[in-house]
Symmetry: C2
Subunit: 556 residues, 2 copies
Amino acid sequence: MANQIAEKIRVFSLGGVGEVGKNMYAVEIENDILVVEAGLMFPEDDMLGVDVVIPDTSYLEQNKSRVRGIIVTHGHEDHIGALPYVLKKVNVPVYGTKLTLGLVEDHLKTTGMHKKADLRLVTAGSTETIGDVPVSFFHTNHSIPDCVGVSIETDQGLIVYTGDFKFDQTPVDGKITDFGTLHSLGEKGVLCLLSDCTNADRPGTTPSELEPAKGINRVFQEANSRVVITTFASNLFRIQQIIDASVKTKRKITVVGASIYKTIQIARRLGYLRAPKNIFVKPEEIGNFPDEQVTVLCTGSQGEPMSAISRLAKGADQKLSIQSNDTVIISATPSPGTEKSVSQIVDFLYKIGCEVITPGQEKVHVSGHASQEELRLMLNLLQPKYVVPVHGEYRKQFALQQVAAEQKVKPENTFLIDKGEVVEFAKGQGRVSGKVPSGNVLIDGLGVGDVGNIVLRDRRLLSEDGILVIVVTLSKKTGAIVSGPDIVSRGFVYVRESEKLMEEANKKVNDTLEKCMSENVNEWSSLKSNVRDVLSKFLYEKTKRRPMILPIIMEV
Amino acid sequence: MANQIAEKIRVFSLGGVGEVGKNMYAVEIENDILVVEAGLMFPEDDMLGVDVVIPDTSYLEQNKSRVRGIIVTHGHEDHIGALPYVLKKVNVPVYGTKLTLGLVEDHLKTTGMHKKADLRLVTAGSTETIGDVPVSFFHTNHSIPDCVGVSIETDQGLIVYTGDFKFDQTPVDGKITDFGTLHSLGEKGVLCLLSDCTNADRPGTTPSELEPAKGINRVFQEANSRVVITTFASNLFRIQQIIDASVKTKRKITVVGASIYKTIQIARRLGYLRAPKNIFVKPEEIGNFPDEQVTVLCTGSQGEPMSAISRLAKGADQKLSIQSNDTVIISATPSPGTEKSVSQIVDFLYKIGCEVITPGQEKVHVSGHASQEELRLMLNLLQPKYVVPVHGEYRKQFALQQVAAEQKVKPENTFLIDKGEVVEFAKGQGRVSGKVPSGNVLIDGLGVGDVGNIVLRDRRLLSEDGILVIVVTLSKKTGAIVSGPDIVSRGFVYVRESEKLMEEANKKVNDTLEKCMSENVNEWSSLKSNVRDVLSKFLYEKTKRRPMILPIIMEV
């Protein structure tokens, strides 16, 4: 054992620190690399046209032979959403609980990897040996069932990862956090705790899921109308509460939105939703029931313009629409960046004349993440020597460092790492040391990583002032213009109202080409750059806009 | 008088209802049209490349000869920002208080209208006859000095417009709202109240500007470092408090950001800022003072990527940069839609290592708009028969209707109008009746209104998947291909990694053209649509993307 104590352990994040989403953490113990989570992120505003973003996994690809497996702690997209792409490059076993793997399997269909993946079932309380490393799992509370935290055994002590968690004393499924195990992990000795820091800046305790249950029940009971309720498609505990409230108020439920429909199907098949037979009714049949016996459960809590609630509100769904006497519950708070679109949908619902209930008015939503008092409890149970805040932007990581300091983890023992930064442990001492490659891989349609900075820059330019294409045909023999120049524009000005401008532009181009020829400038690249410069200047003077200018020269 | 009582009065909004920004209201009394406010709005996310948005004023243009003047109640951009464009089309006298007109004059320089505008000074307490209509002004509290509300006298009673207001019992300039005048207007008889509804959904009372003064003073005193503070460029009361706090803590102030610099200049020149001589220092000279004697006042409280604080944080400003031992105060809350960019800047500041103080941590910002108790007070003072909630989205208008109902204005007497909807008063009875044209006019560079739906749709398409331009030259005589087809793409894929795809695309186009020719399809429009269809289908199959496809045919 003596020489094993000299082992180096490296802990790093390929996503999920300094940002919200695409969680991916790795623990490297000599010859074994264990990966925890493989999540996706939705694109930032400047990632035009991009569908989703996943972590850059080139380090894992380069060290493929040493990657022993990917552990996923629960079935949310920011934890499992990158698997369809990552497994294509590094197809290692995936470890997760029953519900998590059910959702993973469905996700893998995106790239057809569901047929090739090696999914391995684990349960809270069990221990697996992954590579040479014993890994055990403990039950935690979050907004979806079957969540686990992970404890990785090393000769220098345990490395514990909380996963997304809060301490819920009255969870929807009755399964409270496994305090005994957490305490015994603490007794055993935790070298490093990777802890969820989402709400590290919130004092107090996050309310139990029981709170929204009460709020939702109250609204369901008081509403003498249909209840339309929207939440995250993957918030299965909330969905359970909506089913329970519907049962109590004798309502049938119709589900609108592909993602929420699929989640419910998977969860029911695997036994994670309690619902009486025949409570679910197709949208086209819901009209057969009196209003006060109807629940419409749909997606769109983030104000997505194409979501179910948006379609229902705007009358764009053939089977169902939101009416003035409906009661609408928004059972979620907007994610960063979606505040405005959510408020636009709420405004739209008010205009229809609905009763609209948001978390600001009634307790119909609570967070799934631990606030400061819960983080303190976790720190007290586990008594880690080192802390790495994960799952949050830098100011949240910073906030957890402050909380940890108050729980006797010295500030210098909490590492506020960025993506790719490595925390290295040797002889029980940790320090930040070196970097591995990390970054964003953008997925646009079927393309994984073929949209990079140049493409995004072009999309941005195109989006701001459009494009002008200038085509001219030159004679191979004489170099003279035989056709054109023709100018075609898109996204620049409304052409019919700008005929004069375009005529002048055409003349500018023509003059420039003729001037070039008279001066024997006939290299195409020079011709093009001359045209581009002259036209760009002319258009900026006239319009103060800078459209992309694309000269194309043909030769006959 | 008898026949004058039969007069029709029309009240409508060309902007500012059902939205945030571009306020513009109109009161039409027989032959006179009085306009109140001419504001701008910043573009929505889907208005790609647009700089600002102003109201569609075609109704005013069509009835130019009857427009008697534009009253502006204070100097914020959402109230005066459209004047440079509106006056170009309808150059009528502009009425405002001293500070407001000072800011208007500067704004008008955008379009050179400062030389042609007829600016007429009014004071709180004064009465002007505009057209044939007596209009009086009363002092109100907001976040900028010299704010007024407007009372328009008609034979059916007063039409009162609050402007942006709150009731501040301890305002920065010591001038409290003119309660006596408000009460006497109420006694006289208010037919219709157009009231600010920004915070109509907030219970209680908006705190006085004294609150942020206390918070800012505390931070300034405790900080043993430079204080960098960002707020709205036009929040002059906050700027006054920052100057006062700097005086108290013996700090010099340097101002970074063109808009805030200009506002301070104008306000000082007109006597609306108290500041000792020599307290302002140039950015390049601030290094001569010890850190604890320095205030950096800058723009960027809305997370604008090009703002002063963003440049200072990212080291992109040559003269000054934010350091790890600075204390940074964000003295503003994010406007809707800017939450994410603000939090990104805050995150960036944390990474630098600054002490960052936001309104969530310390009371360094309060709203400038009345909450429910203040709205009740306004309603009680004025006792209007009818209410039109203005300056807010629909749900805020709705909230004010509910508040008004509790103050004995029957819900059917509160009109929740959309832009263009007309409230008509005859014989003291109001009803919604008819519409005038209304909408958005988009300003992009020098272009006013030349960016419409088609241009925006093209920009959106271009921003999502880029463009492919296909150029082919055909022989005039034979119709055969003499050059091309050439394909050029921008914003679609990273070309070097997609050579094969582009080769295949080229072949597809070639095959399509040849097939068309062999089938004697030689109308250009058919050729183009064939190419577009085939290529679009091919690319979607291969990439699941839908770039814009622009076929250009040349002839020699």
